[in-house]
Symmetry: C2
Subunit: 161 residues, 2 copies
DNA sequence: TGTTATGGTCAACCTCATTGACTACTTCAC
DNA sequence: GTGAAGTAGTCAATGAGGTTGACCATAACA
């Protein structure tokens, strides 16, 4: 049974740790909800793939790899996996015979809608603890920090561990 | 080059993603500082190990494993690695001939002090963007959420990906 | 029209975790 | 006491999820 970090420690520099723990807590809540519904345990990387494909009609394995911040080989494995599970399909590219356009299947779109709902529920739990105003402030502050540090640049999507 | 998630998306449920990206951003800043100082690229798990040993004079591999939320085999590898780098040492346990008490070396204590300083610097960058008041609110809110969800229970230390 | 760049795949490997089996020692019930 | 069950730690095999490198087919360009 894992023990807790010392949350009464007044040392500065605790916020990064708190953020990691809070994020892990939220993903656990999300996956618990998925499991309650009897769904496969798809991970955040899958969700980001779905979201990218939904908002990008011309997605290919290479552009997905860039979006996820992994190599095209790694992205290719993810694509093959999700295709095998029926969440996405590959279509021939209109003008480039090498390329394949990636598209969500109806099942993929359904999953995305479900995921949106579940994440919103998890966020709501947070709002119930800290209040809606503080949640809005949190949303605003995190965006401000991320854009301030990265400016116009690309943002890595995955935590480093 | 990874692309950014759409930070203008008003959909609810974005806070978990923002948290993941913010945490990743902060760890990147931390590691950049470490690299500037020419230090080995120790990962968060190493830092949590140091912190645990510093606050726990009777730590063993098994209790460390519980703290980190991994198997004892995984903890054992981490211990061997950190011992090889001279950050910690194993001492015989006073009353249990099977067990080894883990303790930081002076080099380990030095690293911990350095890490504290660097994390505080990273946190300060966040404070410079959102202000000291908002940082304090963030600290407070994250703690409130974590303790509300986990109550007295153990908290998993690592993000799931 | 040849040279260079790009989309995608295959294969080998690395890191960091896992499960399972095992030894040595400890603890507990009787 | 002593035998049974539990615990600290290690070794070995395996798996998930990434990497690098080599390669083919097609595109883009000088």
């Amino acid at each position: 049974m894992p023990q807790s970090p010392d949350f009464t420690d007044p040392r500065p520099g605790q916020v990064p740790l708190l953020m990691a723990v809070a994020y892990r807590t939220m993903t656990d809540r999300f996956h618990a909800r998925l499991a309650d519904l009897g769904r496969e345990p798809l991970r955040p990387a899958h969700g980001y793939t779905f979201r990218y494909l939904a908002s990008n009609q011309q997605a290919t394995t290479v552009t997905l790899a860039a979006h996820l911040g992994v190599t095209k080989q790694a992205a290719s494995k993810t694509v093959a996996e999700l295709e095998g599970w029926g969440y996405l399909e590959r279509r021939p590219h209109a003008s480039d015979k090498r390329a394949q356009v990636l598209a969500l299947t109806p099942r993929g779109h359904d999953y995305l809608k479900l995921a949106d709902r579940l994440w919103a529920e998890v966020e709501k739990e947070l709002a119930e603890v800290i209040g809606a105003e503080r949640l809005a402030a949190l949303d605003h502050d995190l965006r401000a920090y991320i854009t301030a540090i990265h400016e116009d640049q690309a943002v890595p999507l995955r935590p480093v561990w």
